[in-house]
Structure formats: structure tokens, C-alpha cells
Amino acid sequence: MLIAAILALGIGTYTIRLSGVLLRERLELSDNLQRLLPMAAAALLAALAATAALMAGSEFTGPARPTGVLIGALLAYRRAPFVAVVLAAATTTALLRLAGLP
């Protein structure tokens, strides 16, 4: 049962990934729709970032993680290197947790 579940999830996920890639060629997309695709991806990625930054399960997370992400986002906005963004976000959150914030 375990191996069946893992295989089903793996094959299903692969099918989802591949079908987007293959559909792209089959679909006769107008220029306007083509322009929407990167926007749709940006919306999904922004939603992932926002939910990962703010939510823990179905509730809001403690302040440590959003604060770290905010520091990282500010650095990114100031065009800091990617590594600095990631490290600053993680370090801020780790230090806040060390200080006892959830």
C-alpha cells in the first residue's frame, strides 16, 4: 500500500508536470493569452511566497518567520545579492526564535 501510494503520487505529479509542457504546443494560444502565462506563474509564485511567509497550516504563524521574510524582501528590493537575501531571512528568523518568539 505504501509503495502504491508513493508511485501514484509520483506518477500523478509527473503527469501534471508533463501535460503542461506538452499542452503548450497543442494549444493555439493567441498573443494575449501567451502574455498571460508568465503573469499566471508570477501569481502562483507570489501566492506560494505569501502563504509560506504568513501561514502555518490554516492559521497565521508567529512573528518570527514573517519578520525574517520581510527583512529578506527589503534586501531584495534594495537589490542585495540573492545569497544575502536568503541568509538574512533565515538568520533573522533563527535569532528571533532564539530570543523566544514563536
Partner: protein
């Protein structure tokens, strides 16, 4: 030359974080009571972090069917990702078959942050393969080390990934229409997270595209400048096509 170095450093940083999170996945799966081969097999066969954590928990709770369904729901976003990234992956069957499996949020975000098609293609494959390797190495380490890998939250790694995604999508947000769509999508997803099962809120972020149907005055407050991209009117015309497709999902 420094661009290449910077890219390698960026991908290296993400890879290092991936080892740590992969290790925590391996360790957690073992702590749930799964056999050692299970997390390793998941990381190779499924290769989608969020759905693996979710599925491992549901399998451990004795509900493998829910694990598969919830995992697939969480991964449904890869379909629009595939549409957006298809031309980047390559046109040969080998590229499509392999390139689809290494599709992740991060690989898509890195690729879309790049405008030059050749560089975009290189960065997609670089990030995809690097993360596949580091994620699997991490998982094996976690299985072997078990609880000794420590708590990834103590290292603040849960803040690293959203911050990385934000850094990667920021350049595309300079375009006003994209920014409005992305912010609306993010707000929708956060608002729906307490109400819907995992995966659906992020999919509903596609409804953010509806802001393009708003009066074009709103999108282009200044008199429309002939932009190099497509003009505003066709976007408005195209928008009604998407709501139908999306409302069925939400």
C-alpha cells in the same frame, strides 16, 4: 563573467538550503515510522517537497489515499508552470521528459527571472538538476542521521524559501500589470488558506488575473504609451477566457 559566478553562488545557496530541508524531510518521515526506503523513494519519484511532507504525514496517519489526493492537489500548480516554461525546457522529447520531472517552484522562478531565452534555458536546467541532486542527498542524510539533523525551524529555513521566491519574482513585478495580478493572487491565497485544503488557495491565486479585466484606466492611469509588450486592450479581451477555467477549480 561575474554573472556566471553570481548565478552559481545563488544556486549553490539554494542547494545548501535544499540539503537541510531534505534532511529534515528524511528525518521526519523516519520519525513518523515510515521505512527508510520510503522517503528516499518519494524524493526521487515525486520530487516535490511540500507534497512529500504532506503525504508522509497523511500516510503515517493511516490515510494513503488522502495522501495521494492532497499531494496531487498541492502539485496541480505545476500544470500552469509547465505551460509557462514549456518553451524554456527545450523541444526534444528527451528534454521534455526529463525537464518536466525537475520542474520546481524555484526552477520556474529562477528561469522566469531571466529574460534572455538561452540563459533562461541554462538556468532552468542548472537549478532543476542541482535541486534534484541536493534534495535527494539531503533526504538520504536525514534518513541516516535521523533526529540528529535538528529542527530546520531553529535555523530559520522556513523563512529562507519565501524570501528566495520573493527575490526571484521581484524583477517581474516591475511590470505594473504583473504586479497587480501577483499581489491580488497572493492576497486571495492568504485569505483562502484558513478555508480551503492545502493546494487550492495557491491555485485560486490564478483568479488574480481577473484584475486585468478591470477598466484599462485602472491598469494604465497615464495616457497609454505604446509599450513594447502587447497593448492593454487585448489583455482585457483575453481575460474573460480565464475565469471560466479557473472558477471550476475553486
Amino acid at each position: 563573467m561575474s554573472t556566471v559566478k553570481r548565478t552559481l553562488r545563488d544556486v549553490g545557496a539554494l542547494g545548501a538550503a535544499m540539503v537541510a530541508v531534505g534532511a529534515s524531510f528524511g528525518a521526519i518521515a523516519i520519525a513518523y515510522g515510515l521505512p527508510a526506503w520510503a522517503p528516499t523513494a518519494m524524493s526521487t519519484v515525486v520530487f516535490a517537497g511540500g507534497s512529500q511532507f504532506l503525504a508522509a504525514g497523511l500516510i503515517a496517519a493511516g490515510n494513503p489515499i488522502a495522501a495521494v489526493l492532497a499531494g496531487l492537489l498541492l502539485n496541480a500548480r505545476h500544470l500552469p508552470f509547465g505551460l509557462a516554461i514549456a518553451n524554456t525546457i527545450g523541444n526534444s522529447w528527451r528534454d521534455r521528459l526529463i525537464g518536466s520531472h525537475i520542474m520546481t517552484d524555484e526552477a520556474v522562478a529562477f528561469a522566469l527571472a531571466e529574460t534572455d531565452p538561452a540563459r533562461r534555458r541554462r538556468i532552468y536546467w542548472l537549478v532543476g538538476t542541482t535541486l534534484f541532486i541536493t534534495w535527494n542527498i539531503g533526504t538520504v542524510l536525514g534518513v541516516l542521521l535521523g533526529g540528529a539533523t535538528g529542527d530546520p525551524d531553529a535555523l530559520g529555513l522556513d523563512a529562507a524559501f519565501p524570501a528566495a521566491l520573493i527575490a526571484l519574482i521581484l524583477p517581474s513585478l516591475r511590470d505594473r500589470a504583473t504586479r497587480l495580478v501577483a499581489l491580488a493572487g497572493a492576497a486571495i491565497a492568504v485569505a483562502l488558506t484558513p478555508l480551503l485544503p492545502a493546494g487550492l488557495p495557491v491555485l485560486c491565486a490564478l483568479l488574480g488575473l481577473l484584475v486585468l479585466a478591470a477598466p484599462s484606466r485602472f491598469l494604465h492611469p497615464k495616457p497609454p504609451v505604446p509599450a513594447p509588450a502587447a497593448p492593454a486592450a487585448p489583455a482585457v479581451a483575453a481575460a474573460p477566457v480565464s475565469p471560466d477555467a479557473e472558477e471550476t477549480r475553486c
